[in-house]
Every structure is written in C-alpha cells, then in structure tokens.
Amino acid sequence: MTADVALILLQDGIVSGAVYVLLATVLVLIFSVTRVIFVPQGDLIAFTALTLSAFETGNVPGTVWLLMFGATAAMLLELRQAVPQRDRARILRSLLRFGALPALIAIVAVFLVPKTAPLLWKMTVSCALVACLGPLIYRIVFQPLAASSPLVLLIAAIATHLGLNSVGLHLFGAEGVRTEGFSGQPFSIFGIIVTQQAAGVLASSVIAVVGLYLFFRLSLRGRALLATAYNRRGAELVGISTETAGRTVFFVAGLAAAVSGLLIGPTTTLYYDSGFILGLKGFVGAIVGGMAVYPLAAAGALLVGTVEAFASFWASAYRDVIVFLLIIPVLFWRSVSSVPAEDGLE
C-alpha cells in the first residue's frame, strides 16, 4: 500500500466516520435521556435516502403514509388521555402537534414537490418528513414504557426496528437507491483531492456535533434534558417534564437521522433494510467511546469509519466483521479496568 492509497482510504474513512459520529452522538444522547438504545435510528437514515430518491423520480414517497398513520395513532393515544381529563390546552396541543403539523408536511410532500423542484427543497421536505417520525415513535412506543427497565426498552426498540423494516419493504420496495449529491468541482487541500460531497459531509457533521455539545453543555434547557437522565424524580420536582424531554431528544434524533441520510445517500447504495448495519456501526462507535461522553463517542465513531475503509481495501468481504471485532477489545478493556463503568445514569 502506497502513501497515496492510504491517504485516500483515510479520507474515505473519515467521511463515513463523520456520519457514524452523528449516529453515535445521537445514540448516546437518547440513551442518556431516556435509557433507550434506539436501534431504529439507522432505519430512519435509510428512509431519508429512500424518500429523497422517490422525490427525485417524481413519486410520492411512502414516508408520507407512514407519517400520516403514525401521527393519527399518536393523536388518538394523546386524545384518549386528554379528553376524559377535559384538559383543553392538551387537546389543542395534540391536535396541532399530531394533527395539523404532520398533515401540513404531508400536503407539501404530496403536492408541492414536483420532479423539477430544486434539490435543496426536496432535501428540506425529506428532512421534515423523517424528523417528525422521531417524536411519533417516542409517543407511540416509548412514552407509555417510560418507567420500564432498559431491557424492556431495548426489546421495544428492536420490535420498532423490525416493524419499520417490514413497513419499509412494503412502502419503498426492495430496490436500492443512490441519491444525487452536492455537485461541483473537487478541490484540493495540502495536495489532497477533496470532493464537495466529502467536504459537505464533514462540515455538516462537525456543525451538528458541536451544536449538540454546546446545547447540552451551556443551555439551561439542555441541562434540563440531562437532568431527567440523572434523576427522573428530581427532574419532575423542579418542573422538567420527562415527556417533553423524551419528545425533544427523539425530534433531535429524527433530525440527525435525516441529515445523516442526506449525507450518506450519495456515497453508497441504500436499501429499505440498510439501516440496521448502519445503526450497529454507530453503536460500535458509541461503545468504543464509552456510551457516555459525546467527544469520546465521536472519536470512537471516527475510528470505526477509518477501520471500515482500510478493511474494505484489504479484505472487503470481511469488512463488517472487522468493524464489529473492534468491540471485543474495548469491552475487555472496560471490564478489566479498575474504574467502574460510568453509563451516564448514576
């Protein structure tokens, strides 16, 4: 292997790593606020690419029906609680949040995205469609289980993934898609050729991760979200609603998934079921980073991307195996290291 090849592989690795960074960050985030290991995050990423691709071919993406169905279910659940209590504010909120808003997005998606629309508009609508799925999944699946053990939540997450997977096959079909990327001339930095796509991926990922980090570090609202993770009852006692906290992180997750999907779509072919492997790689990144600390999870995810790039050069058939092997020494080191594992909960 020459230095040139190594450099190209490294660049590839960093670019796909950047997407895993976003994924790992969101997984850690959701886990620390709600104790859910959000397996379907990868599915949402795949759905974004499939949605954008449907817009590109001039079709109505299946995501619209998924959104309408999910929103209706969430609205009924919410109304069933709010109506007997005669809580007018809550009835109004649920009609807006789970009725009007998804309906508006669906109408835009069905009527206002012609095949000739600019790429940026298609991307925006795809983003909106997928980002809204996050809070819906929370309302339907996880909010009723909020007090359950992490194991129950994990089982629910896997069930959600399987459900989304089957629905995905029905809605999008079995063909893979590759979406349009940011076009434009590649440029060179320090003698390394960088495509605009790669630069876009890196920039978006860095902005998203730094933004999340600052939000959770500095803002009172971000601290409040973390507080629900540290002590649920304590959070309730200072007036932080755990439901709002859950809804917020799942919205952030949906948004991050949508952005990841747009970033990764042009670089690889995605199928309705590509999400699982993607999610697993983000998960490996999160584990390598200790499942607790954002900067470390990001470093872990970059490592995963790099290892993946080099592995596909040397032994492409074993690419995924080699990536998943990473987890063994990390877990081994963590179990023998004397400091008890800090999972961000205690």
């Binding site: 809580d87 009172l220 002590n231 200072v238 007036g239």
Partner: protein
C-alpha cells in the same frame, strides 16, 4: 387564617397496601404545619400524593390556587415545592447547575433574575457557594440536604413541603437545617414539615398532626401536641438513645 392546603378523606394505596388511610389535614398560610409519626406511618406517601407523584383517593385542594391541576408539573408551576426524603439531586452535575435547574419552571416569569435568586440561596447557604463548581454526588450528607433545600428555594416557593429534612444528618447539621427552616418561616414561607425528630419539629411549628399507621391520631396547636401526655410518652419522652433505638427497629418498614 387562610388555608393553603386542604385534604379530606385522603387515601393512598400501593396495590393492596394502604399507606395513608382516610386522612384529613389542613395547612395554613404563613404557618409551619408539622406531621410527626414513626417510620411507616405514611408521612412520605402523604406528601408525595400532595405533590402529584403518586395517585390518591379523596379530596385535595389548594383554596388559594383553585386552578392548579393534579400533576407534579402544575404544582411546580404554581410554586409548590417538595424537598423529598431521598433528596433526588442531579448527582453528576455541579452545585451551580443543580441550583439553576431549581428555577427551571420559573424561567418564563416576569422580571426573572437567575443571578438574584442564586445570590439569595448562596447567602442562606454559604457552604454551597464554596462548593459551587463541585459535583453534587461528591458533597457530604449535610451539604446535599442544603443543596436539596436550596434547589427548592430557587423556585421561591409559596408552599414548601419538607420530607424528613434532618434524616441521617449529624446533630450539628440538623441544628443548622432547623435554623434555616425557622428563618424561612420568619420570612413568611408556608411550610409543611414531615419529621421523625418530633421535639425539634414541634418547637418551630404552629400546628401539628400525629400520624400513626396511615391515620391521624392527634392534631392541634403544636404547643398543645407537645404537652399531650401520649405524645410525650411516645415521641418526646425517654432518652435520646431510646428514641434512636425505636427508629432503628422500625426502619425496615415502608416510609
């Protein structure tokens, strides 16, 4: 005397276990109302239900704030605050962050001034100012109790419920905690005080209820309760050693 909290025929159940049975109680504005009684008497269940943390049967009203809904969030927004027996601090966060989050529900109020509230709390608890950037889970027991109290005070509560504020603290710290409660009372904060330390609780309260096995056994003016022979015998009499003996024997029961 205006009633802040009125509960009537109040019952709290956990499955088949009845923790609070048909209790009626009233807490007045500007007063300290004490609820004393042994472990397992249902004191904690009572305040948790009042705070909206556990479901209850019966009538519960805040006559001064009739529109307050039965949820913890609504209580907090009405500036009703509970310092729980378990403290429930945000362990990995700093003292500063814990205090700031105490005012989380008040952010939207007019003239909200975080700095002024922090100053006020630090003046009441100089120790917290020294520990400002330390993680809450590295504090001593006494400091944690002060932080829990300080966090609740950041809301500037109109009605403050304290669940066993002296539990598990060294005598010197207990004295300090009760000094702070007395100071809050003098500032006009209405307080519902749950205590096992009957002597100290009765000394600084106006009215008192004695709770046993989930039911009110006695109630009246705190001075009358403190003079009642039955209370003297069960809660105030005997040596300190005996009292702590009793506490140890009963500590296995539901709180």
């Amino acid at each position: 005397m205006t009633a802040l909290l009125e509960i009537e025929r109040f019952t709290v159940r956990y499955d088949r276990l009845v923790a609070v049975n048909d209790v009626s109680l009233q807490a007045n504005a500007g007063e300290v109302t004490a609820v004393i009684g042994p472990n397992g008497a249902g004191k904690t269940s009572l305040v948790n239900a009042v705070m909206g943390l556990v479901p209850f049967e019966g009538r519960l009203a805040f006559p001064a704030w009739p529109q307050v809904a039965h949820s913890t969030e609504a209580r907090v927004r009405a500036r009703i605050s509970l310092v729980p027996e378990t403290r429930d601090l945000f362990g990995p966060m700093t003292v500063f962050d814990n205090l700031r989050l105490g005012a989380f529900a008040a952010r939207g109020e007019r003239d909200f001034d975080m700095a002024a509230r922090l100053d006020e709390t630090f003046r009441l608890f100089p120790r917290l100012a020294e520990r400002r950037d330390q993680r809450a889970d590295t504090l001593s027991g006494g400091e944690r109790q002060m932080l829990a109290l300080g966090r609740a005070l950041m809301l500037r509560p109109r009605f403050l419920m304290l669940d066993e504020p002296s539990l598990g603290l060294a005598p010197l710290i207990v004295a300090e905690v009760f000094r702070v409660i007395a100071r809050l009372r003098d500032q006009g904060v209405s307080i519902l005080l749950i205590e096992q330390n009957a002597r100290a609780a009765l000394r600084l309260s106006d009215r008192a209820y004695v709770l046993e096995n989930g039911a009110v056994r006695l109630h009246g003016k705190a001075s009358d309760i403190a003079a009642d022979p039955r209370v003297i015998e069960a809660y105030l009499g005997g040596s300190v050693a005996l009292a702590s003996d009793r506490r140890e024997r009963q500590s296995g029961r539901v709180g």
